[in-house]
Amino acid sequence: MTIQTTPKQSWWSRIAHPGQFVAWTRPLLWPLTILTVLLFVLGLWFALYNSPQDYQMGDTVRIMYVHVPTAWLSQFVYAVMAVSALGSLVWRHPMADVSMKAAAPLGAAFTALALFTGSLWGRPTWGTFWEWDGRMTSTLVLLFIYLGIIALWRAFDDQLRAARVIAVFTLVGAVNIPIIKFSVDWWSTLHQPASVFRADGPRMPFSILTPLFVMFFAFTVLFLVLHLKAMHTEVSRRRVMALERQAAQGAKS
């Protein structure tokens, strides 16, 4: 199974070897970190100093610069997990398991942040921290799914077996999310025909879009860095577990 004994390989199977994957992606870590910091500095400067008030929402529009990127990440991370789950089930790609596991806590954190900033945005604009509207409710359900997946990871002793089971659940969740979204929308319009929050809000001026885009990229790159780092840790953790098992066998007198 060592990498040297197999003569030629595509990049695909080369990154399939965890040690190789770490060796290949470690040099990416620092440049990406620097990029994240730069994007955040730029984004925060735009968001807090160099953007006007919105004519309707006033200064609370600034909350949007952290709310929208985290809300995007809440869905993007799930997409990453779903793709990894597919990779784990279909191609049995070892890095897919690792990616899936590393992404779950990050996804949960960003989803929680999206809800948190959303409710802080909602208080001044709608006058309430929480509204059972379609968007917020389905984000809440998404958070529950994330946390359930984390609980599932922690419940398994054998992480290799866990990966396949959780991959199945992740995909079921991915199929189910649109259904949840639809049903929640139906449910909320049933109870309150006039929604307080229009999805297609007023057209955004350019001065708001700039900080939004910068923050959007900043958060996405932040996720990539953290995800990569967590994947490296996970690879090491698996090696630790293998070594510990070996230590128990080796020490058997």
Partner: protein
Amino acid sequence: MRAFSAIIGRELALALRGGGDVLTLVLFFIITGAIVPFAVGPDKALLASIAPGIIWIAAFLAMLLGLDRLFRPDHEDGTLILLRHAELPLPAIIAAKVIAHWLLTALPLILASPILAVLLAMDFSAFWRMVLSLLLGTPALAAFGAIGAAVTVAIRRGGLIAPILIAPLSVPVLIFGTGAISATQSNAALLFLAALSLMAVALAPFAAALAISSAED
């Protein structure tokens, strides 16, 4: 005293290190509470009026769900038998386990309750009364739960029986717990709740110890 804290420390280490028991219970608590609006509709006035009841029921169910982890793993791997020859008497050991159980199953729920309070549109004063009533009432739930778990520990697949046994015993906790939030005589209800908890916590270790030592026979 060292033995007492060793038991609590071990229970905490076991729960925090693996299995995700605590996270699961908190999730169950939040989800149970958050699912009610889907059934009754998101009308804020209605939700606010039933919120104390929802939160107490969610806490009650979550604590019942966690009962099985109190004695069963220790029974299955033989720890429970060995603990009977410890320096501490069995009721003291069970008291330590009940304290750890409360720290692991009730305290996280109380810490998570602000989330449900926001979701269910509770107002601020009702929220504080609810935290107070949970703090006073959950020790009684943990103590009653210990009795139920002890009685069913020797039964294979007894996990489902304990909640059925415990639910009727805990009705007063529920009555005074929700009463302390909404009723007009809420201070009296809080006092009743505190008395109930004190009594249950004082008696439960002895009852549970008796049940465990007779179960093995």
